[in-house]
Amino acid sequence: MTSSPGTHLPHEQKQLMRRAAKLEWISIGYAACTIALVALVVGNSQAMRTAWIEDMLSVLPQLAFLIALRWTRKTRKPRHPYGYHRSMGAGHLVAGVALLVVGAMLAFESMSALVKAEHPTIGTVNLFGQTIWQGWPMILVMTVIVVPAVILGRLKIKVAEPLHNKLLYADSKMAKADWQTNAASIVGVAGIGLGIWWLDSVAALVISIGILKDGWDSTRSATSDLLDSRASALDSTDPHPLVLRIEEHLARIDWVREAAVRARELGQVQHIEVFVVPRSDKVDVKQVAGICAELEELDWQAYDVVVIPVESIPEHLDRVPAKE
């Protein structure tokens, strides 16, 4: 078993990580600009206010990623035998819970505005001696700022997928869906302009439900990873392809009668435990070490592979069918 440091990532993945960090810094910088710009026009529209808070919240997963990234670089030591990869999961959970709480508060606010039939008041601004309805600059700002956000989201998703980083993936999906928030806020403002007062609160409700959904997805996915659920593909509960590849590999080994894999996600990488039932009662240490090395070579995500010879496979695990 090779003892790799916490930075256990091949060159290509390290490059991707650096790129991800750079994209996240750009995202935070861009978010700061949009938050300042929207602050100038936010006004009395509930939809605009909700979209503004959503902009602020979008920074949370980005900050969580950058902070977690610093931690994952630390090396393993006796007090932290599994390394610090899980800090991504912790960051993911914190961001998810924050989104859930604020999303629920915003949803409540927009519903209470609907129930109380609050008519949003939007006045005018005086630009170069012209009296202009404030709704126009609102719509303009929300239209202009949406494009870079969506482009950033698309760039990030291309990095998140090969890295198998769920926090980054959740963040890029949020950014990609950002145009829906902006579109909803524009519909809300246009509704006020057309005298349809309730459209503003409905648009705000739609935006808050989007935040709630992001929060729920993140919280669920992070909790499931922290509870050591079976390693899964990014967007599903199906077993991670690597698990299947390891099982295939085990089925081809002569001296193994039966085997089972236990894989859990640690941020980018997976901690793999393999149970093997040998054909004979005697197992050579070299044979065990051989499997470890082969499996770690199979894929960079196979991290810290442990092979345990046993008399029978534990009941709760799926068996790899023995080779005939």
């Binding site: 609050e118 008519h119 949003p120 008041t121 939007i122 006045g123 005018t124 601004v125 005086n126 001696g129 009296t131 309805w133 709704g135 719509i139 239209t143 698309r154 990609k176 145009w179 579109a183 524009i186 246009a190 006020i192 302009g193 057309l194 005298g195 349809i196 007062w197």
Partner: protein, 163 residues
């Protein structure tokens, strides 16, 4: 997944382009949900005032003061008769909320807590108060009656010196 989303995005962008066109079709933009401006034009404008310094003075049943004059001019610009109500701010704001009044004035500063409940114009003049602090003066309008607010602010922009 990316491919499935782009038609939606295109349709949305198209929709955004249609919005300003749509608003062009509506004669007045923004629109009042309760139609205040339409009712006031060539009709009666119900104005509530609270006596306050030089802005609103009540002497021998006569209303005087700078804001009284501004409101009279505004009503004239809309070809409307003014129906005055003199009362305390709280009563006047409640009447604005219920739609019984169209405009409230009386040296109200832009920091008024009433702005949570009703609409407020941009400040159109200033006053030096007792502490030597400058406060900005606004008028109050019914909540969400954005066409009417637009009309008031446009009138103030044209006739008043900005603070």
């Amino acid at each position: 997944m990316a491919r499935a989303k782009s038609p939606t995005l295109q349709r949305l962008l198209l929709g955004m382009a249609v919005l300003p066109l749509l608003s062009g079709c509506v004669a007045q933009f923004p629109v009042d949900p309760e139609g205040t401006l339409q009712e006031v034009r060539s009709g009666t404008i119900s104005v509530g005032v609270t006596p306050n310094a030089n802005f609103v003075e009540v002497a021998d049943e006569e209303l005087q003061g700078s804001e009284i004059q501004v409101i009279k001019d505004f009503a004239e610009s809309l070809d409307a008769e003014v129906e005055w109500t003199v009362a305390g701010e709280e009563q006047l704001v409640a009447a604005l909320e219920d739609g019984d009044l169209d405009l409230v004035a009386g040296g109200i500063s832009s920091k008024t807590p009433w702005s949570e409940k009703v609409g407020m114009t941009r400040p159109y003049t200033t006053q030096i108060d007792a502490d030597g602090q400058e406060s900005k003066i606004v008028m109050l309008v019914p909540p969400g009656e954005n066409a009417f607010l637009f009309e008031v602010e446009r009138f103030l922009d044209r006739t008043q010196e900005k603070p």
